[in-house]
């Protein structure tokens, strides 16, 4: 059995009222921000199931937006986020879909990227889809994400760059839309990757999207 930390029961310090519906929402927003990792104008949140029905009373809408703007779970300004935000456009939709997790959200940024995630309890979260590709990112590890043209050799080219940095890969996950089509790769890393290594990955032929997501606090 994996040993648990004392702090799993006497933490986190957070804005209330719910670890799953508030702190989890902030963390989902933060992850989406880290994944998109560039300036944005517009964000839309689609809340599903319990997020949709009880989210308003738990400040789930505020938490998602605040997280997406970079606020941490213990920021007292989360509750007044609607009064603070001026420059970006944001909107919400509320849906029921029993095929989705009870606390689930789609975050659509600049009509360009769609990130789906779940709040799985006690403030823990998982990102399960990015632009339709399945993922499993929980914010516990630094994670390198790539999108590239599906062809032989890309995985080994990437892992060689990481190996040269003496960084251990905790897990590796790949997916693709079709043979020879668009593929995605997610590498969870034990320690952060140097900027130089990330640049090298960006130089690989047929790799057209690279982002390095820092783990959540």
């Amino acid at each position: 059995m994996e040993q648990k930390s004392l702090f799993s029961v006497i933490s986190p310090i957070m804005a209330g009222p719910s670890s799953s519906h508030t702190a989890g929402a902030v963390r989902l927003g933060l992850m989406a921000r880290n994944i998109y990792n560039k300036k944005f104008k517009k964000v839309k949140f689609i809340l599903y199931n319990s997020f949709a029905t009880t989210g308003f009373g738990h400040g789930t809408d505020k938490g998602l937006l605040a997280g997406f703007l970079g606020y941490q779970v213990d920021d007292a300004r989360i509750k007044s986020i609607f009064n603070i935000v001026k420059d970006i456009e944001y909107s919400y939709d509320y849906l029921q879909d029993i095929s989705r997790h009870p606390n689930s959200v789609d975050i659509i940024i600049d009509d360009e990227m769609k990130i789906s995630g779940n709040s799985v309890g006690a403030g823990e979260i998982e990102i399960v889809r990015i632009n339709g590709f399945s993922t499993k990112i929980d914010g516990v590890y630094d994670t390198l994400i790539l999108m590239y043209k599906d062809k032989p050799g890309v995985i080994s080219t990437v892992t060689k760059i990481i190996q040269k940095q003496h960084v251990n890969i905790a897990s590796l996950h790949c997916d693709r839309d079709s043979k020879g089509g668009t593929a995605t790769m997610y590498l969870a890393l034990d320690i952060p990757l140097d900027e130089s290594a990330i640049q090298q990955v960006k130089q690989i032929k047929d790799v057209f999207f690279v982002t390095n997501i820092r783990k959540l606090k």
């Binding site: 059995m1 040993q3 648990k4 930390s5 004392l6 702090f7 799993s8 029961v9 006497i10 933490s11 986190p12 310090i13 957070m14 804005a15 209330g16 009222p17 719910s18 670890s19 508030t22 702190a23 319990s50 029905t53 009880t54 308003f56 009373g57 738990h58 400040g59 505020k62 213990d74 007292a76 989360i78 509750k79 309890g121 006690a122 403030g123």
Partner: protein
């Protein structure tokens, strides 16, 4: 060091001649590959955040988003100031601090989940109120919070601490057991007495359902924080007198888990049973959704 049960904890404490918090902080330091001082520093940060939440909660009467709750702590403070209570100052402080924290939580204030956000008022109210009234130094409050953490951790090894998994037993119930042990530690109890306090508190929360109105952490969650804080004090006082639970702590944890499994999903944080389906609750829900 592996501590999966209360039996393991008692053995480790006795073998090494150490208190629960001493074993717990060594356990955590090993786990995080750091030293004990670092762990205590982090626990102290949480203790400070708990005190801030109480301070903020005592001052505010701001209502929750639903507009149902948020001004009960103020009622207590007003009445206690004028007329006091049957039980005296410590009772006044524990109940007001528990409500202050739980109300601060529902108005999106900053709290410490302990073990969850819905049960955030129980552990801090008892530790901090007793420490203030009995002039217990910060060092010993940290010891107490570490003790509470160890107790919650042992329970969470068997049962996930979430209303959706085992009802409110696993949230406010476990919080009460955590601070029953922590208070016993703070008042000088040994490891046997700490674990007895846990047992006594936990036996009396078995079967507690999670049936919040409209699924919000408000009714009946907020007031339950005050009730289960006082409940913990009863357990600690009995344990310190040498009262023993006939059923050992680990078997009570097993019972809590099995009771949680037997509990209908309607009574586990789905807002589909219990108080949430009363005539009044349904009316409140309708009013809220039409707002």
């Amino acid at each position: 060091m592996q501590i999966l049960s209360f039996q393991d904890l008692i053995e480790q404490c006795k073998k090494n001649n150490k208190a629960v918090f001493e074993i717990a902080q060594i356990y955590e330091a090993e786990l995080q590959e750091t030293d004990v001082d670092n762990i205590r520093l982090k626990v102290n940060e949480n203790l400070i955040a708990m005190k801030d939440a109480i301070k903020n909660g005592l001052k505010s009467t701001e209502k929750s988003i639903s507009n149902w709750c948020g001004d009960d702590c103020a009622k207590l403070q007003k009445k206690f100031k004028q007329k006091g209570t049957l039980f005296g100052k410590i009772f006044e402080k524990i109940t007001t601090y528990a409500l202050a924290t739980a109300e601060e939580n529902l108005r999106m204030g900053i709290i410490v989940a302990c073990p969850t956000a819905g049960s955030c008022g129980i552990v801090p109210s008892v530790i901090i109120a007793v420490a203030e009234e009995k002039h217990i130094p910060e060092r010993k409050q940290i010891d107490a919070l570490i003790t509470a953490g160890m107790i919650g951790l042992i329970v969470s090894n068997k049962v996930q601490l979430a209303g959706a998994v085992a009802g409110c037993q696993a949230e406010c119930g476990v919080a009460s057991a955590m601070v029953a042990g922590a208070l016993t530690q703070m008042l000088g109890g040994n490891v046997d007495e700490v674990v007895q306090a846990v047992s006594l508190a936990m036996k009396n929360i078995l079967g507690l359902t999670c049936d919040p109105v409209c699924g919000l952490v408000e009714v009946p969650c907020i007031k339950r924080n005050a009730f289960l804080a006082i409940h913990a004090v009863t357990a600690a006082e009995l344990a310190l007198c040498g009262v023993e639970s006939k059923i050992p702590a680990d078997e009570i944890v097993d019972t809590l888990k099995i009771t949680g499994q037997m509990m209908s999903p309607l009574l586990k944080e789905t807002a589909k049973g219990g108080l949430s389906q009363t005539k009044t609750a349904l009316k409140l829900e309708e009013q809220l959704l039409n707002k």
